[in-house]
């Protein structure tokens, strides 16, 4: 009895090991889902249909290689622009545009614009289904020539914590890029 039992359990253990090792699911998605690698700022000068594009891009995600692209936003003084933001996952081929996902979940997301030292006024943030600001589109108005930074932040505010005039501290940061900015 003892022998047969130990033989049985031994074969069970061995079989278990074999099974699990065959079970290696390399066909599953190997990469992080929901990764954002790129923030793209497209600015349409009033009257123009071709945007000027500025990007922060770190296609291998956090860690690893440094970002491959980190532009300085350059705009003309005394002008107005329509701004459109895109968040992308460029770790995949082809790159995945995550913006529609963010817009669809607009009631739990918000973009913030924080210019420092640079004379850009951001207004007319688009809104989500509840009429709260969302901000993936906006209008920028520039004043005289200055140099500074334009910090763009995407906040994730799940579970109904987003309200009308939320502070930027509410929620969790998905994107925070402090673009150098020049108005000339």
């Amino acid at each position: 009895m003892k022998k047969s039992f130990s033989r049985l359990t031994a074969s069970v253990i061995v079989a278990g090991l074999v099974f699990s090792s065959c079970n290696k699911s390399n066909d599953q998605p190997g990469n992080e889902e929901e990764l954002i690698t790129t923030l793209r700022v497209s600015l349409y000068k009033s009257g123009s249909t071709t945007p000027i594009v500025f990007e922060f891009s770190d296609p291998d995600g956090s860690g690893g290689n440094p970002p491959v692209r980190f532009d300085t936003i350059k705009v003309d003084a005394g002008s107005s622009y329509n701004c459109s933001l895109q968040v992308l996952d460029e770790s995949r081929t082809p790159a995945v545009d995550i913006t529609p996902e963010v817009v669809a979940e607009g009631t739990s997301h918000q973009f913030y614009y924080q210019p420092t030292g640079v004379s850009i006024i951001v207004q007319n943030l688009n809104t989500d289904n509840k009429n709260y600001p969302l901000g993936n589109t906006s209008t920028w108005t520039t004043a005289p020539a200055t140099e500074g930074f334009m910090k763009i932040t995407l906040k994730h505010k799940p579970g109904g914590i987003k309200t009308a005039n939320d502070d930027i501290t509410i929620g969790e940061t998905d994107v925070e890029v402090n673009f150098p900015a020049v108005v000339k």
Partner: protein, 803 residues
């Protein structure tokens, strides 16, 4: 919950029983039966001594002993038996009394506990056991939290329900956990990965501090934790126990049952089934609920064994499943979020206002661990035994983050498969020498999906060892040596892109994810001198090494909760720890003192070194840490002492002190437990016919502020006056704190069996505090008052009534 009611009831009963009438004549008797707690055999020839009277008797063939003509008073009874570890108890005699004693078995544990070597498995002072009452009063807690009771052991905490044991400041893969004799091979990489073990399996948990394990691998340079179930029941009958534990703070309930049996028709066969279910909701700090901090756990195990005169086999299977909520307020996206959380000192309102709930939402962890083991032994002659142990383990860890769209998949999944085989020969050469010689082998593979944390890999390890112990007069000499060879190979990530895409410049061209091999010796030698009957002195020196782990070599990425980037290092070499342990153990005159000193020199100590500048990501810049090596020196002192006053009173204290120094940087090491001390006063009630081992204890624990942290680092901290300094942490260590607790317990004899009740209150004063060893100290306070009630009901079915 009727917790407070039953407390008053018990107190009332205690007061009644303590008002006893003392006999003045010396006519009392004390008798009892000594049985082996593991095999339940009646122990013939056990020696029973009343220390105060220097009276000794031995048990007869039925395990019975008896003293008569005793005066009323307090006595210390010491029992020794050749097969068992010595044991003792205190008794207040005021009427004729029977006291049955179960002694823990020794020989069967020899192989399992071969640390330095020898039958008295561990040098005094550096080993501490949790068993019996001490273990009962911790039931329902996770393993890591329970182990905090041992002096010199702290816990690395992640929120209110993830505890990882820290021994003498070392943790993770520097601490080896043996689950029923098998090296626990779980996901040891992260500080938020708690050991995947159900503490209800154990009837004894032993912590061996400092000394490395010759038998199980020399890499445990911090220490070893042994989680041991009792041996199977080889006397006819079916018995079991039900355990229930309830906690007020997070309204947690735990139910655990065990059933075991043996029949007279198949006396060689024994079996046991065991299972635990646990469910807890949000924990509460003194001021607010910790949103999403619930826990649920479902565990089970089965054991069968056959035992014959000269051989035996045992098969064991266990499964552990847990789902652990991660406090919502600790989920941050970047450094700005962390600074906001620190500056606001408390979680934001929308998290603070959360109510109690059992619901566990994202983020959470789901972990499963399965263990299968077959152990067979064959006696090879009168005094030796050959043991073969085969085991397999499967560990699956899934981490579910907060996601934008509703997804059911985790964001990180790691699967670790381990197979091990050990062949060990235990031998006793005459009266003086005993030891073990053996060989071990291990194969392991890890695979992952979703987010990259560590790569897929395979590894193997083979080792040979020998450990011997010589006992001669008042001296014990022990020595052990072990050699290990290990390798890591087939290391790759799931990314289709070139390797350096992931690890960037860290990998030298030409050898991306190459194989790594390591080998080395470890050894221990120790001498123990029994100066007098009650005083033992011992010195142990040891050397051990640990190869760099996969995460230390290859990890590369963001740790969200800690808001930092951690980078592996391909050039890491093994670290080596050389240690000296000194211990003094004294018992006598009501005193029981265990003191241990240690000095550990670790060359090439692997740690996370801050680097500058911070790394830029799409979430802003993060401070970056890279695994580097330095030379470290850990020195410390653990004291555990108790003194029994004449009148039932016992005072006890525990003190742990640690100094951890980085010799190359000439600075303190970060993340080391601060000094701490405990004081407790216990009143032990006299046993009555119905109420046994009743006690009430009040205690306090003081944890100092950790003032010994590195002076500078790579983290920019902005001060209120606008100045910016470079610190080693976002926040200085929290202030010292003091916690009070109270506990009372009794065994109520119902139907001839003791039903045990333990009522406890931790953080009695609802103190508001934060602990340096908790990764969530940036975000929230620790939990407040927690009232717990534990009930254990043993039962037995017997076909024929004896006696």
């Amino acid at each position: 919950m009727g917790g407070s009611q039953s407390k008053y009831f018990l107190l009332f009963l205690f007061l009644m029983f303590s008002v006893g009438t003392a006999h003045s004549q010396c006519l009392l008797s004390l008798g009892g039966r000594i049985t082996d707690s593991d095999t339940r055999e009646k122990l013939d020839g056990a020696s029973v001594t009343i220390r105060e009277l220097a009276l000794t008797t031995t048990t007869d063939t039925t395990g019975e002993f008896r003293f008569s003509g005793l005066c009323p008073g307090n006595y210390t009874i010491e029992i020794t038996h050749i097969d068992c570890n010595p044991t003792s108890f205190h008794i207040h005699l005021k009427e004729d009394e029977r006291h049955d004693v179960q002694m823990p078995h020794k020989v069967g544990q020899l192989a399992e506990v071969m640390i330095v070597s020898g039958a008295k498995a561990t040098p005094p002072g550096m080993a501490e056991e949790l068993k019996g009452r001490a273990l009962e009063s911790l039931k329902g807690l996770s393993l890591g939290e329970a182990l905090k009771q041992v002096s010199g052991v702290t816990a690395l905490q992640t929120g209110s329900n993830i505890y990882k044991p820290v021994i003498h400041g070392l943790h993770s893969n520097r601490v080896l956990i043996l689950n029923n004799g098998i090296r626990q091979e779980g996901q040891q990489w992260g500080s938020e990965h708690a050991p995947e073990i159900d503490p209800y399996i154990a009837n004894r948990i032993t912590v061996i501090k400092g000394a490395s394990s010759i038998r199980y691998g020399g890499d445990a340079i911090g220490g070893v934790v042994l989680v041991e179930p009792k041996l199977l029941r080889y006397v006819p009958g079916v018995s079991g126990e039900m355990n229930a534990a309830m906690f007020s703070n997070n309204l947690q309930g735990v139910l655990s049952g065990m059933l075991e049996g043996n029949s007279s028709r198949h006396p060689a066969f024994a079996w046991r089934l065991q299972g635990t279910a646990k469910r807890g909701g949000n924990a509460k700090t003194p001021d607010y609920w910790l949103a999403n901090s619930g826990v649920s756990e479902y565990n089970g195990s089965a054991t069968v064994g056959w035992r014959y005169q000269t051989k035996g086999v045992e098969a064991f299977y266990s499964i552990f499943n847990t789902k652990l909520g991660i406090f919502s307020g600790a989920h941050i996206g970047n450094v700005t979020d962390l600074i906001n959380a620190i500056n606001s000192k408390e979680p934001p309102d929308y998290i603070k206002n959360a109510d109690f709930s059992y619901v566990i939402g994202r983020p959470y962890q789901q972990v499963q661990h399965q263990l299968g083991k077959i152990k067979a032994y064959l006696n090879t002659g009168e005094n030796s035994r050959l043991n073969l142990v085969l085991s397999g383990q499967y560990n699956r860890r899934q981490e579910y983050d907060i996601v934008r769209t509703s997804r059911s998949s985790p964001q990180l999944e790691l699967r670790l498969l381990t197979a091990m085989a050990d062949l060990v020969w235990d031998h006793y050469a005459g009266k003086y020498l005993r030891g073990s010689i053996g060989a071990t082998g291990m194969y392991q593979q890890n695979s992952y999906d979703y987010r990259y944390f560590i790569p897929n890999y395979k590894s193997w390890n083979t080792g040979v060892f020998a450990a011997e112990k010589l006992t001669w007069k008042k001296w014990q000499l022990e020595a052990g040596v072990r050699y290990d060879l290990k390798g890591l190979y087939q290391i790759h990530d799931n990314d289709q892109s070139p390797f350096d895409q992931l690890t960037g410049n860290e990998i030298a061209p030409g050898i991306p994810y190459g194989s790594r091999n390591f080998h080395g010796f470890s050894g221990n030698t120790g001498v123990t001198w029994k100066w007098t009957e009650g005083l033992r002195l011992s010195v142990t020196i040891g050397t051990a090494w640990r190869s760099p782990q996969i995460n230390e070599i290859y990890s590369d990425g963001l740790h969200h909760g800690a808001a930092r980037i951690e980078k592996g290092n391909l050039n890491l070499q093994p670290e080596r720890a050389n240690s000296v342990l000194g211990a003094v153990q004294y018992s006598g005159g009501g005193w029981n003192v265990d003191a241990g000193f240690y000095l550990k020199q670790i060359t090439d100590f692997i740690y996370l070194k801050p680097t500058y500048p911070p790394e830029l990501t799409i979430r802003g810049a993060f401070p970056t840490f890279k695994f580097e090596q330095t030379d470290a020196r850990l020195t410390g002192f653990d004291l555990s002492a108790s003194y029994l006053f004449a009148n039932h009173f016992q005072a006890s204290t525990k003190i742990s002190i640690l100094r951890a120094w980085d010799k190359k940087a000439d600075d303190w090491l970060i993340q080391m437990p601060p000094d701490r001390g405990e004081l407790a006063l216990e009143y032990q009630f006299s046993d009555s016919r119905k109420w046994k081992q009743s006690y009430i204890r009040i205690g306090g624990m003081y944890v100092a502020k950790q003032s010994r942290v590195p002076e500078t680092g790579n983290i920019e901290v902005k001060h209120p006056d606008g100045s910016i300094t470079m610190e080693s942490d976002y926040l200085p260590p929290p202030d010292a704190y003091f916690l009070m607790n109270i506990e009372t317990g009794t065994d109520l004899v119902l139907g001839g069996r003791p039903v045990s009740f333990i009522l406890g209150v931790t953080n009695l004063l609802n103190a508001k505090y934060r602990d340096y060893m908790n990764a969530f100290r940036y975000f929230s306070d620790e939990t407040g008052t927690n009232i717990s009630l534990r009930v254990k009901v043993p039962f037995e079915f017997q076909r024929k009534k004896t006696s």
